[in-house]
């Protein structure tokens, strides 16, 4: 099994990893970098639990071949709180509005939402629902998640939303 060395930015830090070339970005994050937030809910891009942000876009990391991450910028759930530990507005609003129940979909859900708010800080409900249409949730019925994303958008100014890597 051939190995590949990739250098990229991970949650604001320059990193290098050497992993088997067949690994996905998800497997690399979880097993090489021990970042457990992104989850393997299905492994075939059909559930959204593995969603992370690459160069500003939400992607299914389970389908992202690791060689392609070279030179790119990756953000995961572990990287959106501020350096001093303050929760990102989305993390706060999900806790406040019960947007998280069992929590398995939460990492992916928040990253999809963050990608939306980074590009569109004042989304409509339909835009919010579209942004998380690729994230399945069985616990919440989505309603309190959509509300939480709206709350984070309303209660924060753009600086707060973007002020985290």
């Amino acid at each position: 099994m051939k190995k590949v060395s990739v250098s990229f930015t991970l949650n604001g830090d320059p990193v290098t990893s050497e992993v088997p070339i067949t690994w996905s970005l998800l497997k690399t994050l979880r097993e090489y970098f021990e970042l457990n937030g992104a989850k393997k809910g299905c492994g075939v891009g059909e559930c959204g639990a593995c969603t992370v942000i690459v160069d500003g876009d939400a992607v299914s990391s389970c389908l992202y071949p690791i060689p392609e991450i070279e030179g790119r910028s990756v953000t995961t759930i572990e990287g959106i709180a501020s350096a001093d530990g303050a929760l990102h507005p989305l993390q706060k609003s999900f806790l406040e509005n019960n947007g998280v129940q069992c929590g398995y979909c939460t990492s992916g859900m928040i990253m999809s939402a963050k990608s939306l708010l980074d590009q569109n800080p004042d989304p409509t409900e339909d835009e919010i629902r579209t942004s998380i249409s690729g994230n399945f949730c069985r616990c919440t019925g989505y309603i309190q998640i959509v509300e939480a994303i709206g709350m984070a958008a309303k209660e924060s100014d753009r600086k707060e939303l973007l002020n985290f890597p």
Partner: protein, 795 residues
């Protein structure tokens, strides 16, 4: 009830911050030193003899540490009626039969090894329809029972029968009767977190099972029973849950993969993790129990129900888990949803070579309520009575004792029906009918104050307060995401007089808890809450005993220090008798105070000062503050006639739906959905709404889009792409109505809510569709194709 500081408030889930920071450890994330990965080889046939298993090639694959077949482990029977073994010998009876298991150093190697195991089968005739399976001459799924006695038919030795009153008397008293046949199919629980566990034995063969179960204590007993039969009698078991990615009924049984995991761990002497793929979640996990109902009801001229008679056939699949016990829960809506004097309910479970079933949110109630509420609507129509009015005429009321001897205490059904009527503008919509638009409703009854399905329905809790005033709660239940840590910390804070942020909880660990029957039947808040309140009384007493001892010392000590600083200070003359009796003291929001003078300038003291002074102070004087309480409510076990008040109280609710039907495509749009629920009291309103929303969404899926397609025993749609669970773009406009009549037995008046949100959703939708276009679909899910076919047939 604004007298409460924390109960009734929507406290955020700060206690679960790990879930939004990626730090929560689910079974996927758990690693144990030297851990191996287990994978299961499943059968290639629905019914076949196993002629030979050749694992020689697989064993040689580098990285493989063990391969087990049914011939390598003791052939011990497990399950509710002990009709299956952990790995199968001689015969496979369904596609998901576990034929071999591999443990290897990586999941990829384990999977590769599976491909190298060669199994020779000889196919046997199979049966895939329960009605066919009941006929004489049908292939037998099981040849012998658990005791080796030959079986003559595919009928399970579980004839469910419930009779109350007399059906013929009821028929004679009827002015109108109706007969309906309805059916429900398999649906998947769709937990986002896949099933899995890690089994680890110590050097003496005591087991730690890292698990996701709802029933840590009962599960432990089942494992110990299994151990006794495989040469591990007397070995200890500890079940420890990780954070759980949803359960919805999947984790009430000890599943075959858990036993397999233990066997692999035993063989390799290493921790072994089995983690299901999403595909396995769909084809190898028991889903919701399907059922076929024939139901007959009657009412008199005034619209009062006279009788309800129902026969159900349940496709049991090849083996038996909790699916076969759903009739015991079905008896509740059959006998007690609305007032009905004469009831007959019989359910037959039949073996087939299909997949077998377990619990799913509602546990038989959604299926049975679909039957009852379909019949209620057809009967209302037959009697010429408005469906809402019909339900009001027959509504359950406080003080009722139902034919199942359920004692109805708090009951908000009338309010639920009326609020649905009001919010749907029911009367107007019925009068001014718009084309292809309609309204419908359905109600529910569910246990909401525990459920005595086992001899003990108790919950044991231990609460300790340390010298910093921090509270540790050792809870015996489990959490699957509903928010118990937040809710219980609110209850403890309120009952003890502290703040919710003072509370830390442990749950889901048999080694750190007393005992609980399990987090099922929507019982957790009721049971743990009541146990907590009673326990807090004991803890409070200990603190107040300490307060009586230490408050005067602390106050006088403070005066002494003041005097030293300021010689002119005059010590006030205080009436210390106010704080000399613990019965006269109370704690609220971390402050101890005398009841008779709550704002006393000197006698109101931070409780943390008291515990800091009162614990660990010297020889013979050191103490801890701790108490335990085992709350087992004064309910009844069901007797031989399946009657008894098995719960302290019952939940009621009504769902009302307005739909629009596209008569060209058969598609349904839900314009409005009102979910009215009598919850007693909402401990945390936001968390409660989350339970309702999630359950309603699952109910809409049950009604309209979800089905596991099983063809000749094989699951044909084992993926999220082909199993139609709803997405965030499938908007359901839900208006929740929370009705709080209180409940004298619930913790701060609360009743269970976990399952009720789901139960009446599908029948409400079916009834609304009938109102819209005059066709009644009687088998779920109600797909556009069924609507179009029915519309065609109507013309």
């Amino acid at each position: 009830m604004s007298e409460y500081l924390y109960v009734g408030k929507s406290i955020p889930r700060t206690i679960e911050t790990d879930k939004v920071t990626g730090r929560a450890i689910y079974i996927d994330d758990l690693k144990r030193p030297g851990m191996l990965y287990g994978k299961i080889l499943y059968s290639k046939y629905a019914h076949a003899k196993i002629k030979n298993i050749d694992k020689s090639k697989a064993e040689k694959l580098p990285g493989v540490r063990a391969i087990l077949t049914g011939y390598d482990i003791p052939d011990v029977r497990v399950g509710f009626i002990k009709d299956q073994t952990v790995l199968k010998r001689d015969v496979v009876r369904q596609f998901r039969d576990e034929v071999a298991a591999v443990a290897a150093i990586s999941p990829e190697i384990a999977e590769e090894a599976l491909d190298l195991i060669k199994v020779e089968y000889e196919e046997l005739p199979a049966v895939f329809d329960p009605v066919e399976a009941m006929k004489e001459g049908a292939p037998l799924v099981h040849e012998v029972d658990a005791r080796g006695r030959p079986l003559k038919s595919n009928l399970l030795p579980l004839p469910w029968k419930f009779y109350a009153g007399d059906i013929e008397t009821g028929r004679k008293a009827s002015a109108y009767t109706v007969k309906d046949s309805v059916s429900t199919t398999w649906v998947n629980q769709c937990c986002m977190g896949p099933s899995g566990c890690v089994a680890e034995f110590d050097m003496n063969n005591n087991l730690t099972l890292y698990d996701q179960t709802n029933v840590i204590h009962l599960g432990k007993q089942r494992i110990m029973e299994y151990f006794a039969q495989i040469g591990l009698k007397g070995k200890k078991v500890r079940v420890v849950n990780t954070i759980v990615g949803g359960s919805f009924g999947t984790k009430l049984d000890t599943d075959i993969y858990e036993f397999i995991c233990m066997q692999l761990a035993l063989k390799t002497r290493k921790p072994v993790k089995i983690l299901f793929s999403r595909e396995e979640e769909f084809f190898a996990l028991p889903p919701r129990q399907p059922a076929i109902f024939d139901i007959e009801q009657g009412c008199d001229k005034e619209g009062r129900l006279t009788f309800r008679k129902c026969e159900a056939i349940l496709d049991n699949g090849a083996y038996t888990s909790w699916g076969a016990t759903t009739p015991s829960v079905m008896m509740m809506p059959m006998s007690s949803l609305y007032r009905v004097p004469n009831v007959s309910f019989e359910a037959t479970c039949v073996y087939t070579n299909n997949i077998y079933c377990q619990a799913m949110r509602g546990y038989g109630n959604p299926q049975a309520s679909f039957a009852v509420e379909t019949s209620m609507d057809t009967l209302a129509e037959e009697a010429g009575i408005d469906p809402a009015e019909f339900r009001l005429i027959n509504r359950n009321q406080s003080g009722d004792e139902t034919p199942q001897r359920l004692k109805i205490t708090s009951c908000g059904m009338e309010e639920c029906i009326n609020s649905v009527k009001e919010k749907l503008d029911w009367d107007k919509k019925k009068k001014d009918k718009k084309k292809a638009r309609g309204v419908g409703m359905a109600s529910l009854i569910h246990v909401a104050g525990g459920a005595r399905v086992y001899m003990s329905d108790g919950h044991g809790i231990m609460i300790k307060v340390d010298q910093n005033g921090w509270i540790d709660v050792f809870e015996s239940g489990t959490d699957q995401g509903q928010g118990s840590p937040t809710v219980i910390s609110q209850i403890v804070a309120e009952a003890l007089g502290f703040k919710p942020e003072d509370v830390s909880l442990t749950m889901g660990d048999t080694g750190l808890s007393l005992w609980d029957a399990g987090t099922h039947a929507s019982r957790h808040t009721f049971m743990a809450g009541n146990a907590a309140i009673r326990c807090c009384e004991k803890v409070k007493k200990q603190i107040l005993d300490m307060a009586v001892q230490y408050m005067p010392k602390l106050i006088k000590g403070g005066f002494k220090r003041k005097k030293r600083k300021d010689p002119d200070f005059v010590e006030p003359d205080l009436d210390y008798s106010l704080i000399s009796n613990p019965e006269n003291l109370d704690i609220k929001d971390r402050m101890v105070f005398p009841r008779s003078d709550p704002d006393h300038p000197y006698f109101k003291m931070d409780v943390r000062e008291i515990v800091r002074s009162g614990l660990h102070v010297g020889v013979g004087d050191s103490r801890v503050v701790v108490a335990e309480e085992f709350y087992d409510p004064p309910t009844e076990m069901l007797d031989r006639e399946m009657k008894g008040n098995l719960s302290m109280t019952y939940a009621f609710g009504t769902t009302g739906v307005e739909v629009e039907v596209d008569e060209e495509t058969g598609e349904i749009t839900i314009l409005k959905l009102i979910a009215a629920h009598d919850v007693g009291k909402a401990i945390n309103p936001t968390l409660l709404l989350g339970q309702v929303y999630g359950a309603v969404y699952t109910g809409v899926g049950y009604g309209l889009t979800e089905e596991i397609k099983v063809v000749n025993g094989r699951v044909m749609n084992p993926s999220f792409r082909d199993y139609k669970m709803l997405t965030a773009k499938d908007v359901i406009p839900i208006t929740p109505v929370v009705i709080e009549p209180g409940d004298e037995d619930g913790p701060f008046g609360a009743k269970g809510i976990g399952e009720p949100g789901l139960v009446p959703t599908a029948p409400a939708i079916a009834n609304a569709i009938y109102d819209a276009i005059g066709v009644r679909i009687t088998d779920l899910p109600i797909t556009p194709e069924k609507i179009l076919t029915a519309l065609n047939n109507k013309q």
